[in-house]
């Protein structure tokens, strides 16, 4: 099980830190997919980097909170330190496979490199494992493609290679940061199917970050909605789509140009997300919230939780049923 507990990531001077991730908590079970959804600047990528131990130095830092792998606190450990300490592997895949893959090395070599991080096996055995991994991610002619360079592969194939590299360390946790955003829709469909299948088969806890609610609906078991560095709602995917409680979640879903909506005007969210550090007391969404009361601007929002595990960070969540 993978959990993040009250994680806060800040930038700026020690004396006056600016929180770009604010007390974020969630947990993911083995074999489960948690979708982390939010718009750009909400802090979802930063959360994932912090959880992996990949925050750039110098730069944003974890100010408080913990990252837990099966109960063990790995917050301050960088990835190599986690390996050394014998923890289960965590792997990450990113949006742009062209920049995550080394353009001057063959794809097979890059997978082998990942394999040998964890396992002390011979080069030949590692190469065999690399071929298996390519087959696992459904790349045709796996044995031949081991010697391909990234630029010789299409975007979808490169992303599959990324997944193969991620799987090479036999991870228990996989963090995917918008892995299909740059791909064509038909390719995206296949990659999503592949990821889901792999998580179930290898019992991997996956954190899937995206801004696309459609992808969330297709892939996630549970969803966390993020806004201005905070998680404002967490729920099982069916519950979230059937009855979103947080006004931001409701607004977000209402503004999607759904295929069947015809030519009606789209609902919008007025204004813009607040800059980190410019938020005063009270709820970060209050200025744009259609349901906001006076007190919302000055009083911090309540953290409410229902029996079914539906959590919301709002003092006046909307509970009247279908949103649209």
């Amino acid at each position: 099980m993978f959990a993040v507990d009250n994680l806060t990531v800040s930038v700026g001077p020690q004396a006056r830190p600016i929180d770009i991730v604010d007390r974020v908590s969630f947990s993911i079970l083995r074999g489960e997919v948690l979708g982390l959804v939010g718009e750009s600047g909400c802090g979802k990528s930063m959360t994932s980097l912090a959880a992996m131990g990949l925050l750039p130095k110098p730069g944003p830092r974890i100010r408080s909170g913990r990252v837990l792998l099966d109960g063990a606190d790995v917050t301050r450990l960088e990835p190599w330190q986690r390996v050394e300490a014998g923890h289960d592997a965590m792997a990450m895949i990113f949006q742009e496979p062209m920049t995550s893959l080394n353009p001057v090395r063959r794809v097979g070599d890059q997978i082998v490199e990942a394999v040998r991080v964890r396992e002390q096996i011979s080069a030949a055995a590692a190469k065999e494992r690399a071929r298996e991994l390519l087959e696992l991610v459904r790349i045709p002619d796996a044995a031949l493609q081991l010697s391909a360079y990234p630029h010789q592969l299409s975007g979808g194939m490169r992303q599959r290679v990324m997944i193969a590299i991620a799987l090479a360390t036999r991870p228990r946790v996989l963090i995917a940061d918008e892995p299909t955003t740059a791909l064509d829709v038909t390719v995206q469909f296949q990659i999503l199917g592949l990821l889901r299948e792999l998580c179930v088969r290898f019992d991997i806890a996956m954190l899937f970050i995206t801004h696309d609610m459609g992808v969330i609906a297709q892939l996630a078991d549970r969803v966390a909605v993020m806004y201005a560095g905070r998680i404002v709602e967490t729920a099982a995917v069916k519950d979230l789509f059937a009855a979103p409680n947080h006004p931001y979640s409701r607004s977000l879903m209402a503004c999607m140009p759904i295929r069947g909506a015809g030519t009606a005007r789209l609902r919008t969210i007025s204004g813009q997300a607040p800059q980190p550090g410019s938020m005063l007391a009270g709820c970060a969404f209050a200025a744009r919230c259609p349901e906001a009361r006076e007190s919302c601007r000055s009083v911090a929002p309540a953290h409410l939780e229902s029996a079914a595990g539906h959590e919301v960070l709002c003092s006046y969540p909307v509970t009247d049923g279908r949103p649209w």
Binding site: S154, T186, Q190, M213, G214, P257, G260
Partner: protein, 323 residues
């Protein structure tokens, strides 16, 4: 709303370019015999994935790319063959909104200068006061405060910059706006704002639009008619609702099925149309979609299909049935 009178037609557009890959000379047929029509006050959506050629069609109409063959006829004049005065006039009547709000504005020029550029180049303004007034009007039309004219792009958000790009495209007010992925680089909530803006402007200014996008949701929301492109050709063309809800061409069917619906109860198990689009250099003979098509037969591999009526739309497929 849509009057039915055709104002722009594209006929037999062909654009290929030559590349060298690994010492061989190859040809990429970016646009291969494309024909469409745009009616007055209509939004024509062109949808396709990467490599479909949809952006190149838009650029060809704007003469930012030079097609090798074909005509683009606007109000009786062939856009591709115009020169001199006629071309200047056309440039003012057919305008483009670009995809990347960060790259489409010169960071060194003020918002006002960028918005007024078409007018400045073509001597449209009668004086400074006229120019100021019209810049303010354009900015107001796109929902921005006229005082932004003195600012610079880096002071604005992505959504605001995109609005500036639109303000630029409507000063002076054109007949046709070609929007190339106008909201792809924006957040969902901002997308909604900009799409609403485009709808409003179409109403108020009587614009006709060609909307190019890979996003079916956007296309479906905005378009009256839709053309689906695959590897440089139009494979299906018809009323938007028909093409999207009842697609006929196997590629359109696969495309619509692949779009993730925001409804968890509609999860699709299994794969549809496995395999990826072939490389652009390896154009198969016959139908370009045949290698991936569940309906493909021998005829498909040899003979490229032409657009023919199937149900309520036109489809380029030998075997398509009404959706």
């Amino acid at each position: 709303m849509v009057t039915g009178e055709t104002i722009l037609t594209v006929e037999g557009l062909r654009l290929h370019f030559d590349v060298r890959r690994g010492g061989r000379h190859l040809q990429v047929r970016a646009v291969d015999d494309v024909s469409l029509s745009l009616r007055e006050r209509e939004v024509l959506g062109i949808v396709g994935e990467s490599g479909s050629g949809k952006t190149t069609v838009g650029r060809s109409i704007m003469r930012l790319a030079q097609p090798q063959a074909g005509r683009v006829v606007f109000r009786g004049r062939d856009v591709l063959r115009q020169g001199g005065e006629g071309l200047n006039d056309l440039r003012l009547r057919i305008r483009m909104v670009f995809q990347d709000p960060y790259a489409s504005l010169n960071p060194r020029r003020s918002i006002g200068d960028s918005v007024a550029e078409a007018g400045d180049i073509n001597g449209v303004f009668t004086g400074r006061a006229d120019r100021q007034r019209r810049i303010a009007e354009s900015l107001t039309n796109v929902g921005l405060d006229p005082s932004l004219a003195g600012r610079y792009p880096h002071e604005l958000s992505g959504g605001q910059r995109q609005r500036v790009g639109i303000a630029r495209a409507i000063l002076p007010v054109p007949d046709v706006v070609i929007a190339d992925e106008p909201v792809s680089a924006l957040d969902v909530s901002i997308q909604a704002q900009v799409l609403n803006l485009l709808s409003d402007l179409r109403e108020r200014l009587g614009l006709s639009m060609i909307l190019i996008s890979h996003d079916i949701g956007v296309i479906g929301h905005m378009s009256d008619r839709v053309a689906v492109m695959y590897m440089g050709r139009i494979v299906e063309f018809g009323e938007a609702r028909e093409v999207i809800d009842r697609p006929s061409h196997p590629y359109t069917v696969a495309l619509m099925a692949a779009v993730p619906k925001p409804d968890p109860s509609l999860r699709i198990a299994g794969t549809i149309a496995a395999s990826e689009p072939p490389s652009q250099f390896d154009r198969p003979e016959g139908c370009a979609y045949a290698p991936r098509c569940p309906l493909a037969n021998d005829r498909c591999r040899v003979e490229a299909p032409v657009l023919r009526p199937v149900g309520t739309q036109v489809v380029a497929c030998h075997n398509a049935l009404p959706g």
